[in-house]
Amino acid sequence: MLKQVHFKSSALPYMLVAPQIIITLVFFMWPASQAIYQSLLIEDAFGGNTQFVWFDNFIELFDDDHYVKTFVRTLFYSAMVALLSLSVSLILAAMADRVIRGTGIYRTLLIWPYAVAPVIAGALWAFLFYPTTGIISTALTKIGYEWNHQLNGNQAMFLVIIAAAWKQISYNFLFFLAGMQAIPKSLIEAAAIDAASPAKRFWTIIFPLITPTTFFLLVVNIVYAFFETFGIIHVVTKGGPANATETLVYKVYKDGFIGLDLGGSSVQSVILMVLVIAMTVFQFKFIERKVEY
């Protein structure tokens, strides 16, 4: 029989986890509960007059054409960010996996962008593409392409997608590289003897074997594009021009803090909360067990 291990109960373990629990309660649980509560209220802009309206805010939101458009736009935006960032990092990882000399330098350089804060990343790309003085926009003008993301919605969308994808490349790269290096070398050698060209080896052996990594990254990237690119959008376009780059999270901010429609903004937050919970459940259910090659 195994004896159960007994620890003397003491306050120390509770004290050690207390900071994290307090942070979670104060900055996550309390605001979340407030959001749920406020989503059921209508308030005037000065907070003087509050009315409990049950689900009227939800009904109003789903009737709003503008919200549906933003939803579709956000889906497109996150799909593009995930696709672009995953494919570029996959290529980089495949190349870095084959590098023999100077691996440390390559990897360090490729991982750097991850250390850049979203706002700084956004500012960097905004500088490069600034319509009048940016290096890239100037170059584009020189070759006859007019760049002005402050007026052209498609260009603005393109720019935020690039900026957001660029920042996520490092993260994806790390996971892809680790995934590739976990593949036994003899498998690749066996494939080489089996007359598979390097490209064929990649698509028929390496790529299928890193599907669990790819799937994990896909979910992470979509969540990232949904929720963590606020800073980039805020710096580069402020959701404009004409709402062309307004995502769901950006709309929450705009409606709540600029429009001061706290009820409407809270409803959107609650929906996002449900979405992120769903994605997390999905990720745990499928990534932990389901994805097999």
Binding site: P184, S186, L187, E189, A190, A191, A192, I193, D194, A195, A196, K200, T204, I205, P208, L209, Y293
Partner: protein, 355 residues
């Protein structure tokens, strides 16, 4: 014209480490060659150089009359079985075996035919739709061999294929591989560190040590006439005993403690002290024998017994193997003798054979 020709090949790594020192061997068509040696001796490196997975620093390798130094592994017409089998985990057994043929653009019905032929040969028919994860070690091993067979290559290369199996399965697979090779008649290079495997499977052995081929020959040649002390100690289990002895009577006998052993043939050598070797199984209990042994440990295996002892009056270890049971207590003194014809002599400096 030999089938695989290895001419003076060397391997030097970029950091200057020399792994293979000029090895040459001609392998006949259909021969089963085993590369054997302790770990780090360069046996896998040599095999991988033939396979094209390591570059050849100098020298030449040709397979079926074609120089292959600068050819890709896929162009060398070889198939390899890896130590960890290297089965593609995401493919079924069938797809694993068909992968190489598919890459060579073999027609589909031809692939089907060859794969099912190999499956029948290796008794894998029931398992064709399984993934490697659902197979036992022995089954994986057979799939790896099936993958090699379907290619109908000019040569099979095996890199320690049995070392991941348990002892019983290993003996069984040894026979499977050997039978298969005899049946297909494909030239084979086989790497192992297990000398029993090497002795039982090989037509000829290459004994490697520190990147040098110590001796190349049939198992019996290596057992009867090892050319170096290393080969003598490596082949045979338990290993050969070695004692330094003094040559007397002009080389016609040796002095061992107080006793003399008359040799079957006169031994001419420049040095007076030589290393004498004799195998544990060539020692007989003999009441008038010239050698006294103090028993240290007896291992009774039923059919035979192995006695670890020390030469009386010294602490040089001697192992003897008798094909009967024996009741010997620790500290007992056994009198034994060795047939003079079964003695091996080596130079103490160069370790080369002198008789």
């Amino acid at each position: 014209m030999s089938h695989i020709q290895i001419k003076n090949i060397e391997k030097v790594y970029p950091n200057g480490y020399k792994a293979i020192h000029g090895i040459s061997v001609d392998i006949e068509e259909g021969e089963f060659i085993v590369l054997v040696g302790p770990s780090g001796c360069g046996k896998s490196t040599l095999l991988r150089m033939v396979a094209g997975l390591e570059t050849i620093t100098s020298g030449e390798v040709s397979i079926a009359g074609r120089k292959v130094n600068d050819l890709e592994p896929s162009q060398r017409d070889i198939a390899m079985v890896f130590q960890n089998y290297a089965l593609y985990p995401h493919m079924t057994v069938y797809k694993n075996m068909a992968y190489g043929l598919k890459n060579l653009k073999t027609p589909r019905d031809e692939i089907d035919r060859r794969v099912s032929e190999a499956a029948k040969l290796l008794e894998l028919e029931e398992l064709m739709q399984r993934k490697p994860k659902q197979l036992s070690g022995g089954q994986r091993q057979r799939v790896a061999m099936g993958r090699a067979i379907v290619r109908k290559p000019a040569a099979f290369l095996f890199d320690e294929p049995l070392s991941n199996l348990d002892a019983k399965l290993r003996v069984q697979m040894r026979l499977v591989i050997k039978n298969l090779q005899t049946r297909l008649g494909t030239t084979t290079l086989y790497v192992t560190h297990d000398q029993v495997e090497a002795m039982t499977m090989a037509d000829r052995l290459i004994i490697l040590k520190d990147g040098i081929a110590e001796q190349i020959g049939t198992p019996m040649t290596l057992y009867d006439k090892p050319q170096t002390r290393f080969v003598a100690g490596f082949i045979g289990s338990p290993a050969m005993n070695f004692i330094d002895v003094e040559l007397t009577d002009n080389g016609s006998s040796i002095k061992l403690g107080k006793n003399k052993i008359t040799l079957s043939e006169k031994l001419k050598h420049t040095a007076n002290i030589v290393t004498m070797g004799f195998r544990p199984e060539h020692i007989k209990l003999d009441e008038n024998g010239p050698i006294g042994l103090k028993v240290l440990l007896t291992e009774n295996l039923g059919a035979e017994s192995v006695i670890h002892a020390a030469l009386a009056g010294t602490d040089s270890p001697i192992t003897i193997r008798l094909n009967k049971r024996i009741n010997a207590k620790n500290g007992d003194i056994l009198k034994v003798s060795v047939e003079p014809k079964k003695l091996h002599f080596f130079d103490t400096q160069t370790n080369l054979r002198i008789n």
